[in-house]
Structure formats: C-alpha cells, structure tokens
C-alpha cells in the first residue's frame, strides 16, 4: 500500500503542446471536432490516418471526398486534398478526381444515408465499373445529422424519428450489395475493432479497383439511445459479444437485425482482382 502510494507520488506528468498523431493529416485549427461524445466517427478517422501513415502515402497524393452528414463532415477535417461535396455525390466527384489524376489515392469517407440513399446509384455504378477508389461507409443505421430519421440501413423494427412505431422496411445488407455490384474488396468491422479497421483500410487502399469497407459505428444521439443500444460504450461492448468473424463467408448471410443480441458477421468477404475502369478504357481506346 505504501509503496503504491509512493509510486503515485513519483510519476508526475509534464505539460507539453504535443498533439495526437492523427492530427498530422488534419486541419488542427478546426479541432476539436463537432461530433458527439461516444460517436464512432473520430476513431474511424484515426484508423484511416494510421493506414495512410503505415502505407507511407505522401500527403499530397491523398484525396478524401465526403458527401453530407455527420460522417460527411470528415472531409472538412482532412488536411489532404479534400472535398465536401453535395449530398450523395461523393462517388461521382471522386470518380472525376481519379480520372483526371490517376496517381491520386482517392478515399471516399461518407455515411450510410449519403452513400446508399441519395447516392446509391453512384455506388453501384462505380463498383460495376471498378473505378480505383476506396469507399469507407460509416454505418450508424440512421441519418444522424438531420435528427435520426430511418434510412436504407436501419434494421427492421428499429425506432427512428420517422419510424416511431418501428421501421417496417427491409434494409440493405451493404457487404452483399457491394459484392454483387462488383467491388473487388469488401470488409465489415465495428468501431470496437479499431485495429482491424485500420488493417482493412490498409488492404483496401493498397488494392487497385473499387474497395469497400463498412464500419458499424455508434450514433448514441440519433440511434443508440432509441434502440436499446444505450451510450456509445454500451454499443461497443455489445459488438464485442455480438460479432462473429467469418472471413470469406457469403456476404448474403451478413444481414443485421435490430435485436441487440443477434449475431453480426464481420470480416473480409471479398478480395479479388479485375481490370479497373481506367485499365479497360486505355486498352479499348488504344485498339481504336
């Protein structure tokens, strides 16, 4: 006891102006960010900056594109080339960026609503064409920014501002959708799997072609509290219990149920190779 006390007295912190390593890629003057306590977005950003750092991608070669939403605000925090596009249009913007600047490493970082409601059509066509980009979807099962409306990934039966009696629609299963549309890399993790997310991002960023990483992430403000998931920390703990890692499994079996105890499949579903949009276009046009 006394030695313990003594130790506590001995170790004292020094005050410094050091910053979190992620801030190397961020506009520090915009921090602290606006996201709520326990929102999963900030750690998804750190996983991404860690992945850039690990892969040693020069900051000038990175383009981060978002649409609108809480997730969409991410682009505004990046000190890389970054574009905060209109709602749903992150992917077409990113496509243009890639075509005009083929050396650029293009990342789309956006929400379930932005990418799969208003922007759903762009997603399937970029995947079909195999445009070389990494799409990260932070899926918090709702439109967080506008007050918690249900959207295309809200589980059946879940409560949202616009489904006070429970959502009766059938949601998209994002890994299945991405795989069916032609993505060459598809993975899903949750916010509690921060390191796995980083690894998946490293893999996705390294692949040539259309890669997709889904992150199941807490939005305690818009979704968690209304749906028996509690605060962010409760949701993360439930993901520790609920998730089962099944690499290479059929993404068709990766549906998400509202029941906070129902199993959720995570892991890498697809890792494939096929010519990218630019490869095909170059080949074809050379033959003309």
């Amino acid at each position: 006891m006394t030695t313990e006390l003594k130790q506590k007295e001995e170790v004292k912190p020094e005050l410094t102006s050091a910053e979190h390593p992620a801030t190397k890629y961020l506009r520090e003057e915009r921090l602290p960010h606006i996201w709520c306590s326990g929102c999963g977005l900030g750690s998804a950003v750190t996983s991404l900056t860690n992945a850039y750092e690990k892969l040693e991608i020069p900051i000038d070669d990175i383009g981060v594109v978002s649409g609108i939403g809480c997730t969409g605000r991410a682009a505004g925090y990046f000190e890389t080339d970054s574009y905060h596009t209109t709602h749903g249009r992150a992917i077409p913007f990113a496509t243009g960026l890639k075509l005009s600047n083929p050396e650029m490493n293009v990342t789309v970082f956006s929400g379930d609503g932005d990418l799969f409601a208003i922007g759903g059509n762009h997603f399937i066509h970029a995947a079909r064409r195999n445009v070389d980009m990494t799409v990260i979807c932070v899926n918090n099962y709702n439109f967080g920014m506008t007050g918690g409306q249900f959207g295309p990934t809200t589980p059946q039966g879940a409560t949202a501002t616009t489904s006070p009696y429970g959502n009766y629609e059938d949601p998209f299963n994002l890994p299945d959708l991405a795989a069916s549309a032609g993505a060459i890399y598809v993975a899903r993790w949750t916010s509690v799997h921060a390191r796995r997310i980083q690894q998946a991002m490293e893999e996705a960023l390294s692949k040539r072609g259309f890669s997709f990483v889904e992150i199941l992430s807490p939005c305690p403000t818009g979704y968690g509290r209304k749906n028996d998931l509690g605060e962010g920390i409760d949701e993360l703990k439930s993901y520790q219990d609920r998730t089962v890692i099944k690499h290479g499994s059929d993404p068709g079996d990766a549906e998400i149920e509202r029941d906070p105890e129902a199993e959720i499949v995570v892991g890498k579903f697809v890792e494939d190779d096929r010519p990218t949009y630019c490869d095909v276009a170059d080949d074809y046009l050379q033959g003309q």
Partner: protein
C-alpha cells in the same frame, strides 16, 4: 522573428516503461472508451471536470502501460495517445 504563435501547453505527458502516454484533457468528451478498452487497466475516470464538463481519464496505474496504442486509435476525440521511445509516432 517567428510569427508562429506559441501553442498552449495543454497536454499531459506521462512517462511509461517504454515511452510516454499523452492526455489532452480539453479535447476529451468522456466517452470512457480508453478506460474500458485499455488491456492493462491503466486508466480511471478522474474526479475533476474539463471545461466541457466531462471527466477525462487519469492514469492510476501508469507503470502497467505497455504502449500498445489502443487508446490512441479507439479515442474518438484525439485526446489520448502514446509514443514509444525511439519511434516518432
């Protein structure tokens, strides 16, 4: 003649076995992730409040920190991170 404004020293730098643990209290939003998911149980919620009204984490067993970096990646608010001696992370 530097025009750069000197940054405020708001970050606590704690010495660990293999390096340092940093806590920037004013960024913390009290989600508790670092405390809950630190594999070494280094942290506890402090009694004090930061200016946002949250209780930032406090290392109550800093000698157990192994600089695994998990707090750094799970913290959504860039408020806690580590540095291994000899690395420039």
């Amino acid at each position: 003649m530097s025009t750069e404004i000197e940054k405020e020293k708001t970050t606590e730098k704690w010495p660990t076995d293999q390096g340092y643990l940093y806590i920037r209290e004013d960024y913390c939003k009290g989600c508790g992730y670092c405390i809950e998911f630190c594999p070494q149980e280094v942290l506890e919620e402090s009694e004090g409040f930061n200016e946002k009204g949250y209780h930032p984490p406090e290392p109550t067993a800093i000698d157990k920190c192994v600089n695994c970096g998990f707090c750094s990646i799970i913290c959504p608010d860039f408020a806690i991170w580590d540095e291994k001696e000899g690395s420039n992370e």
